[in-house]
Assembly symmetry: C2
């Protein structure tokens, strides 16, 4: 299997794009990525998307986007793994190029989800959970996460406000990201006073949905010099997926992301690194509780000690393990099927040294982790500069 | 890239399975395939599905099915390419094993679509077409195919009844397939008297929808001897996808399946064969006009001459190029996201010599072609015995 690298990246601002159809949003990210890669064509296209069939009444996004961006005839598929669809597209593009089936591929994620009534979107998002045993019982996605967070607070003795640093850090970083949805900093008081959604999750624990797309051009690593167009080459050092039950109640431990642990462990092994070698971590902070659970499952914090990393400042851009460096899901926004590709794009920005005010100093190895559902599909990528 | 082979196959009867959820239908096919392969585990799972999110309110089928069949933790994704989703899963499983990322993978397709009101299913199927420029105008999927067939009759001077042999052959073959949805033979009179749906397409030109799943276990070819469990090894000799515009009006020629031509040509080249070498062809006869267009685009008939192969008996099991040997979409049934995998399963049956009364004599090389939309995604596989 040959090693692969990321030659170009592109993204659209996460926003409410009522004037654009799903293909137009996708096209903007693809054109930006091709321009960045200085390529006009690729051999294949993998589109991560979750909700287009339900919300835009448009399936078949592989061929649709390929045609729209002027690449009619190339091989193209849509892949879906709920909110993990973006990184799923990345996984498949990596396999396609690694296998030799393709010499270049576009991995992208796109989602358009703000045009409908909120209740419709809530119902659409519930399709990520177990329809027969969770959604059918009236559990929305935020409710599932609220149950997990409530149990976590009870089990480990944290106060709700101990989660504030995750939200404050994400918002502070998004201020400097022109593609972020929420660019206002928030204070601890803002966090405490935020409107309750599903106790104990308040508005500042939850990420905003949005419309957006992000894309990356994947090529064989040995086809590139270490410096490409004056920028460091970015290689995929690790790439792995693990799954778990959709329903939280089917897991042995509702407070442990087994699929995060398994996929991270495999990715560390592939990259020949340990958690201590990771310079920054773009994690899936769809809810603040998920940030804590990811940090624990990936070996950055002891079980039940995730919030400590926030309280001790470890997660800030100048800390030992910066997270959500461009705003994370919490403030960059969470266009569900696109999120995993935003994480990849942001990791590349950091490794190239293009992250501006929130640049992690001398970032050499970055990790991105995308979660589908409440932890049923978890995909981990480790990227390396040089 | 290493060559891959199919070790095991499984399928469920295409039917109205109101008593089973989508995961249960999927599980039946997976268990059958694992049993046939004499394996308990695989490294990965690719689920082709189009409509589960819309009809069953259940996305995230990769992790869901993996968990249901006792393979929790393995890498698993859903892939979608409209009615081409089944073969899309096959493509990705092939790439995953060929790349070395996995040493074994399950490719499967599943669809559950009979429980809803017919109008809901018609609307759901229209998401395969261009939502903004076709479906929005009120064009249903059968209407799109009716426009194509009407133009074909006009352009090439055929009568509607000239398409009867496609339907008669499919029904005659399905009589002997225990997994087929419609197992009654039909006569030319039945064809002529069938109820009109969207002129000139009548009920006998159209395939029935259904609930069903089909699966195959993919492994490296060199891991198997030429005789496995007393059955011939089945290798993937060719595998290719091409795309086209979703909207028919965006194509240069509404009567030519460019993506069929391109993907078939690539598959022939990979396999080192020409159309004359193909012993049978499991084609995508969702509508009889599609059978004619596929035969032409793949080089089995001259442009505009597809119906001749039916009229001359070429397509029957004892003809020069048997098609729809187990009933095809027309009579085995068309559970949309599963269809591509049914074709693969049926091709393996033929190559193993397990096709019973419709066995093609000394079948060595078989082709399967799965179409998404009205020709926007077309995936061609060539399978070889030995």
């Amino acid at each position: 299997m040959r090693e692969v690298a990321i030659l170009g990246i592109g993204q659209t601002p996460v926003d409410e794009a009522w004037d654009k159809s799903v293909r137009e949003i996708a096209g903007e990210a693809v054109f930006a990525a091709l321009l960045d890669a200085q390529r006009e064509r690729v051999d294949g296209l993998f589109v991560g998307n979750m909700l287009s069939g339900i919300i835009s009444k448009q399936e078949h996004l592989g061929a649709l986007v390929a045609d729209w961006v002027g690449l009619r005839a190339i091989e193209a598929f849509k892949v879906e793994a709920a909110c993990g669809s973006g990184a799923a597209a990345m996984r498949l593009a990596i396999m396609a190029v690694a296998s030799g089936e393709m010499d270049s591929a576009l991995a992208m994620g796109v989602e358009k989800m703000t045009e409908n009534k909120g209740t419709e979107t809530t119902a659409a998002l519930a399709t990520a959970a177990d329809a027969d045993y969770e959604a059918e019982q009236g559990l929305s996605f935020v409710a599932i996460n609220a149950l997990i967070m409530q149990r976590y607070l009870h089990e480990y003795g944290w106060k709700h406000t101990d989660f504030a640093p995750f939200s404050i850090n994400a918002h502070a970083n998004a201020v400097h990201n022109p593609f972020a949805r929420l660019r206002d900093p928030i204070s601890e008081k803002d966090y405490q006073r935020a409107k309750m959604i599903a106790a104990p999750i308040n508005l500042m624990d939850a990420s905003p949905i949005g419309d957006g797309a992000a894309a990356a051009v994947i090529v064989p690593a040995d086809s590139l010099p270490e410096l490409v167009y004056g920028r460091p080459r970015i290689r995929i050092a690790g790439s792995a997926t693990a799954t778990d039950s959709l329903a939280v109640h089917d897991r042995r431990d509702a407070l442990w992301l087994t699929a995060a642990e398994l996929s991270a462990r495999k990715a560390y092994q592939q990259a020949g690194v340990s958690p201590a070698d990771i310079d920054f971590f773009e994690l899936h902070d769809a809810f603040s509780i998920m940030a804590a659970l990811s940090l624990e499952a990936c070996g950055f914090a002891e079980r039940g000690q995730g919030p400590r990393l926030g309280l001790e400042g470890v997660i800030r851009p100048d800390g030992r393990l910066p997270i959500a460096t461009r705003g994370g899901l919490k403030a960059r926004g969470h266009p569900v099927g696109a999120t995993g590709m935003y994480q990849i794009v942001e990791a590349v920005q950091q490794l190239r040294g293009e992250a501006g005010e929130t640049q992690v100093q001398d970032a050499r190895i970055g990790m991105a982790q995308n979660i589908g559902g409440s932890g049923a599909t978890i995909i981990t990528h480790i990227l390396r500069r040089g």
